[in-house]
Subunit: 112 residues, 2 copies
Amino acid sequence: MSEQTFLVLTALADQPMHGYGIVSAAEELSGGRVRLRVGTLYGALDRLTADGLVEPDRDEVHQGRLRRYYRITDAGLSELVAEGSRREATARVALDRVRARRPRPDPGGSTA
Amino acid sequence: MSEQTFLVLTALADQPMHGYGIVSAAEELSGGRVRLRVGTLYGALDRLTADGLVEPDRDEVHQGRLRRYYRITDAGLSELVAEGSRREATARVALDRVRARRPRPDPGGSTA
DNA sequence: ACAGCACGTATCGGTCTGCGATATATATCG
DNA sequence: CGATATATATCGCAGACCGATACGTGCTGT
Protein backbone atom coordinates (compact mmCIF):
# COMPACT_ATOMS: atom_id res chain seq x y z
CA MET A 1 0.00 0.00 0.00
CA SER A 2 1.43 3.37 -1.01
CA GLU A 3 1.69 6.28 1.39
CA GLN A 4 -1.04 8.09 -0.54
CA THR A 5 -3.48 5.22 -0.14
CA PHE A 6 -2.45 4.85 3.48
CA LEU A 7 -3.23 8.51 4.12
CA VAL A 8 -6.66 8.23 2.50
CA LEU A 9 -7.47 5.37 4.84
CA THR A 10 -6.05 7.28 7.80
CA ALA A 11 -8.15 10.33 6.98
CA LEU A 12 -11.31 8.25 6.92
CA ALA A 13 -10.44 6.54 10.22
CA ASP A 14 -11.85 9.46 12.17
CA GLN A 15 -15.12 10.03 10.36
CA PRO A 16 -16.70 9.85 6.90
CA MET A 17 -15.33 12.50 4.56
CA HIS A 18 -15.81 13.73 1.03
CA GLY A 19 -13.11 13.89 -1.66
CA TYR A 20 -11.84 17.40 -1.16
CA GLY A 21 -11.96 16.93 2.62
CA ILE A 22 -9.77 13.84 2.29
CA VAL A 23 -7.24 15.84 0.30
CA SER A 24 -7.10 18.48 3.03
CA ALA A 25 -6.93 15.90 5.81
CA ALA A 26 -4.11 13.99 4.10
CA GLU A 27 -2.12 17.16 3.77
CA GLU A 28 -2.64 17.96 7.44
CA LEU A 29 -1.93 14.42 8.62
CA SER A 30 1.36 14.35 6.76
CA GLY A 31 2.42 17.69 8.18
CA GLY A 32 1.92 19.43 4.86
CA ARG A 33 4.29 17.03 3.15
CA VAL A 34 1.86 15.14 0.94
CA ARG A 35 -0.52 16.98 -1.34
CA LEU A 36 -2.91 14.37 -2.73
CA ARG A 37 -3.85 14.92 -6.40
CA VAL A 38 -7.41 14.26 -7.36
CA GLY A 39 -6.30 11.73 -9.96
CA THR A 40 -4.53 9.84 -7.22
CA LEU A 41 -7.43 10.21 -4.81
CA TYR A 42 -10.12 8.75 -7.04
CA GLY A 43 -7.87 5.92 -8.17
CA ALA A 44 -7.12 5.06 -4.56
CA LEU A 45 -10.76 5.38 -3.54
CA ASP A 46 -11.82 3.06 -6.36
CA ARG A 47 -9.26 0.46 -5.36
CA LEU A 48 -10.06 0.71 -1.66
CA THR A 49 -13.75 0.35 -2.44
CA ALA A 50 -13.09 -2.67 -4.65
CA ASP A 51 -11.10 -4.22 -1.79
CA GLY A 52 -13.91 -3.55 0.66
CA LEU A 53 -11.82 -1.26 2.86
CA VAL A 54 -13.93 1.79 2.13
CA GLU A 55 -17.52 2.31 1.04
CA PRO A 56 -19.74 5.18 -0.16
CA ASP A 57 -21.48 6.85 2.76
CA ARG A 58 -23.90 9.50 1.57
CA ASP A 59 -24.28 12.43 -0.80
CA GLU A 60 -24.85 15.90 0.56
CA VAL A 61 -25.35 19.27 -1.05
CA HIS A 62 -23.31 21.99 0.61
CA GLN A 63 -23.69 25.51 -0.73
CA GLY A 64 -25.00 24.19 -3.99
CA ARG A 65 -22.05 21.82 -4.44
CA LEU A 66 -22.33 18.08 -4.26
CA ARG A 67 -20.32 16.35 -1.59
CA ARG A 68 -19.84 12.62 -1.89
CA TYR A 69 -18.88 11.06 1.40
CA TYR A 70 -16.87 7.88 1.92
CA ARG A 71 -16.67 5.74 5.02
CA ILE A 72 -14.05 3.27 6.26
CA THR A 73 -15.25 -0.29 6.82
CA ASP A 74 -14.32 -2.66 9.65
CA ALA A 75 -12.02 -4.46 7.24
CA GLY A 76 -10.49 -1.11 6.36
CA LEU A 77 -9.89 -0.34 10.00
CA SER A 78 -8.17 -3.68 10.56
CA GLU A 79 -6.06 -3.22 7.47
CA LEU A 80 -5.11 0.29 8.58
CA VAL A 81 -3.94 -0.99 11.95
CA ALA A 82 -2.02 -3.84 10.33
CA GLU A 83 -0.36 -1.60 7.77
CA GLY A 84 0.38 1.05 10.38
CA SER A 85 2.04 -1.50 12.64
CA ARG A 86 4.12 -2.86 9.77
CA ARG A 87 5.22 0.63 8.83
CA GLU A 88 6.11 1.53 12.37
CA ALA A 89 8.14 -1.67 12.76
CA THR A 90 10.01 -1.22 9.48
CA ALA A 91 10.81 2.40 10.26
CA ARG A 92 12.11 1.50 13.68
CA VAL A 93 14.31 -1.28 12.31
CA ALA A 94 15.79 1.14 9.78
CA LEU A 95 16.47 3.90 12.30
CA ASP A 96 17.95 1.43 14.78
CA ARG A 97 20.24 0.08 12.10
CA VAL A 98 21.51 3.53 11.30
CA ARG A 99 22.05 4.32 14.98
CA ALA A 100 23.93 1.06 15.50
CA ARG A 101 26.47 2.11 12.88
CA ARG A 102 29.81 2.70 14.40
CA PRO A 103 31.53 5.87 13.28
CA ARG A 104 33.25 4.73 10.09
CA PRO A 105 37.01 5.12 9.85
CA ASP A 106 37.73 8.27 7.90
CA PRO A 107 38.66 7.10 4.38
CA GLY A 108 41.37 9.74 4.49
CA GLY A 109 42.13 12.52 2.08
CA SER A 110 42.00 16.26 2.55
CA THR A 111 41.65 15.94 6.29
CA ALA A 112 44.98 14.15 6.72
CA MET B 1 10.13 5.70 -1.81
CA SER B 2 8.58 2.24 -1.81
CA GLU B 3 9.03 -0.21 1.03
CA GLN B 4 11.22 -2.37 -1.20
CA THR B 5 13.60 0.47 -1.96
CA PHE B 6 13.51 1.49 1.68
CA LEU B 7 14.55 -2.02 2.72
CA VAL B 8 17.42 -2.07 0.23
CA LEU B 9 18.74 1.13 1.75
CA THR B 10 18.18 -0.21 5.26
CA ALA B 11 20.07 -3.40 4.47
CA LEU B 12 23.06 -1.41 3.22
CA ALA B 13 23.04 0.85 6.29
CA ASP B 14 24.96 -1.72 8.28
CA GLN B 15 27.69 -2.64 5.79
CA PRO B 16 28.30 -3.08 2.06
CA MET B 17 26.44 -6.08 0.66
CA HIS B 18 26.02 -7.92 -2.61
CA GLY B 19 22.72 -8.48 -4.42
CA TYR B 20 21.71 -11.82 -3.00
CA GLY B 21 22.79 -10.71 0.46
CA ILE B 22 20.52 -7.68 0.20
CA VAL B 23 17.61 -9.94 -0.69
CA SER B 24 18.25 -12.08 2.40
CA ALA B 25 18.74 -9.06 4.64
CA ALA B 26 15.52 -7.42 3.41
CA GLU B 27 13.59 -10.58 4.17
CA GLU B 28 15.06 -10.73 7.66
CA LEU B 29 14.60 -7.01 8.35
CA SER B 30 10.93 -7.21 7.43
CA GLY B 31 10.36 -10.21 9.64
CA GLY B 32 10.04 -12.53 6.66
CA ARG B 33 7.24 -10.42 5.23
CA VAL B 34 8.96 -8.98 2.17
CA ARG B 35 10.75 -11.23 -0.28
CA LEU B 36 12.59 -8.95 -2.67
CA ARG B 37 12.57 -10.13 -6.30
CA VAL B 38 15.73 -9.74 -8.26
CA GLY B 39 13.92 -7.69 -10.88
CA THR B 40 12.89 -5.29 -8.15
CA LEU B 41 16.33 -5.30 -6.59
CA TYR B 42 18.28 -4.33 -9.66
CA GLY B 43 15.76 -1.69 -10.63
CA ALA B 44 15.95 -0.21 -7.14
CA LEU B 45 19.74 -0.41 -7.07
CA ASP B 46 19.94 1.37 -10.44
CA ARG B 47 17.65 4.15 -9.24
CA LEU B 48 19.41 4.53 -5.91
CA THR B 49 22.75 4.69 -7.70
CA ALA B 50 21.46 7.29 -10.14
CA ASP B 51 20.24 9.33 -7.17
CA GLY B 52 23.63 9.06 -5.47
CA LEU B 53 22.23 7.24 -2.43
CA VAL B 54 24.17 4.06 -3.15
CA GLU B 55 27.37 3.30 -5.04
CA PRO B 56 29.28 0.23 -6.25
CA ASP B 57 31.75 -0.93 -3.63
CA ARG B 58 33.87 -3.79 -4.96
CA ASP B 59 33.67 -7.10 -6.78
CA GLU B 60 34.68 -10.27 -5.01
CA VAL B 61 34.84 -13.89 -6.06
CA HIS B 62 33.42 -16.21 -3.43
CA GLN B 63 33.61 -19.94 -4.17
CA GLY B 64 33.97 -19.26 -7.85
CA ARG B 65 30.89 -16.97 -7.92
CA LEU B 66 31.06 -13.27 -8.53
CA ARG B 67 29.75 -11.04 -5.79
CA ARG B 68 29.13 -7.42 -6.63
CA TYR B 69 29.01 -5.26 -3.51
CA TYR B 70 27.11 -2.00 -3.06
CA ARG B 71 27.68 0.63 -0.43
CA ILE B 72 25.40 3.32 1.01
CA THR B 73 26.61 6.91 0.61
CA ASP B 74 26.38 9.75 3.13
CA ALA B 75 23.48 11.14 1.13
CA GLY B 76 21.86 7.70 1.27
CA LEU B 77 22.25 7.59 5.02
CA SER B 78 20.65 11.02 5.42
CA GLU B 79 17.83 10.06 3.12
CA LEU B 80 17.28 6.82 5.01
CA VAL B 81 17.00 8.69 8.31
CA ALA B 82 14.64 11.25 6.77
CA GLU B 83 12.44 8.62 5.17
CA GLY B 84 12.46 6.48 8.29
CA SER B 85 11.39 9.42 10.43
CA ARG B 86 8.61 10.31 8.02
CA ARG B 87 7.39 6.74 8.00
CA GLU B 88 7.46 6.49 11.76
CA ALA B 89 5.53 9.75 12.09
CA THR B 90 2.90 8.79 9.53
CA ALA B 91 2.41 5.37 11.10
CA ARG B 92 2.01 6.89 14.53
CA VAL B 93 -0.53 9.44 13.31
CA ALA B 94 -2.55 6.67 11.73
CA LEU B 95 -2.50 4.40 14.76
CA ASP B 96 -3.35 7.29 17.09
CA ARG B 97 -6.27 8.23 14.89
CA VAL B 98 -7.62 4.72 15.06
CA ARG B 99 -7.18 4.59 18.84
CA ALA B 100 -8.93 7.94 19.24
CA ARG B 101 -12.03 6.51 17.59
CA ARG B 102 -14.84 6.26 20.00
CA PRO B 103 -16.78 2.99 19.93
CA ARG B 104 -19.29 3.65 17.16
CA PRO B 105 -22.99 3.38 17.96
CA ASP B 106 -24.18 -0.01 16.82
CA PRO B 107 -25.96 0.66 13.49
CA GLY B 108 -28.61 -1.73 14.74
CA GLY B 109 -30.03 -4.83 13.10
CA SER B 110 -29.94 -8.40 14.28
CA THR B 111 -28.71 -7.39 17.73
CA ALA B 112 -31.77 -5.29 18.45
C1' DA C 1 29.49 -39.19 -13.78
C1' DC C 2 25.67 -36.54 -13.79
C1' DA C 3 21.34 -34.47 -12.38
C1' DG C 4 19.31 -31.24 -9.42
C1' DC C 5 19.48 -27.50 -6.44
C1' DA C 6 21.35 -23.24 -4.29
C1' DC C 7 23.91 -19.26 -5.31
C1' DG C 8 24.62 -15.22 -8.13
C1' DT C 9 24.11 -11.64 -11.76
C1' DA C 10 21.21 -9.57 -15.30
C1' DT C 11 17.18 -8.25 -18.64
C1' DC C 12 12.39 -7.93 -20.44
C1' DG C 13 7.52 -7.21 -20.54
C1' DG C 14 3.16 -6.81 -18.16
C1' DT C 15 0.57 -4.48 -14.77
C1' DC C 16 -0.56 -1.48 -11.23
C1' DT C 17 -0.21 3.12 -9.33
C1' DG C 18 0.57 8.08 -8.99
C1' DC C 19 0.23 12.29 -11.24
C1' DG C 20 -0.39 16.19 -14.46
C1' DA C 21 -3.66 17.81 -17.51
C1' DT C 22 -8.16 18.40 -18.59
C1' DA C 23 -13.33 18.86 -18.32
C1' DT C 24 -17.57 20.30 -16.01
C1' DA C 25 -20.34 22.96 -12.74
C1' DT C 26 -21.60 26.29 -8.98
C1' DA C 27 -20.79 29.94 -5.34
C1' DT C 28 -18.33 33.98 -4.01
C1' DC C 29 -15.65 38.05 -4.49
C1' DG C 30 -14.01 42.12 -6.80
C1' DC D 1 -18.86 39.76 -15.64
C1' DG D 2 -14.51 37.53 -15.04
C1' DA D 3 -11.44 35.25 -11.69
C1' DT D 4 -10.89 32.19 -7.99
C1' DA D 5 -12.16 28.42 -4.75
C1' DT D 6 -14.83 24.36 -4.13
C1' DA D 7 -16.01 19.89 -5.89
C1' DT D 8 -16.49 15.78 -8.78
C1' DA D 9 -14.57 12.91 -12.50
C1' DT D 10 -11.63 10.88 -16.54
C1' DC D 11 -7.49 10.11 -19.52
C1' DG D 12 -2.86 9.09 -20.80
C1' DC D 13 1.93 8.99 -19.50
C1' DA D 14 5.62 7.49 -16.74
C1' DG D 15 7.64 5.10 -12.88
C1' DA D 16 7.97 0.97 -10.00
C1' DC D 17 7.28 -3.86 -8.76
C1' DC D 18 7.25 -8.42 -10.15
C1' DG D 19 7.13 -12.87 -12.69
C1' DA D 20 9.55 -15.07 -16.13
C1' DT D 21 13.54 -15.95 -18.23
C1' DA D 22 18.52 -16.50 -19.27
C1' DC D 23 23.17 -17.71 -18.14
C1' DG D 24 26.92 -19.67 -15.38
C1' DT D 25 29.30 -22.09 -11.22
C1' DG D 26 29.74 -25.04 -7.03
C1' DC D 27 27.95 -28.58 -4.01
C1' DT D 28 25.44 -32.79 -2.92
C1' DG D 29 23.26 -37.08 -3.51
C1' DT D 30 22.77 -41.24 -6.10
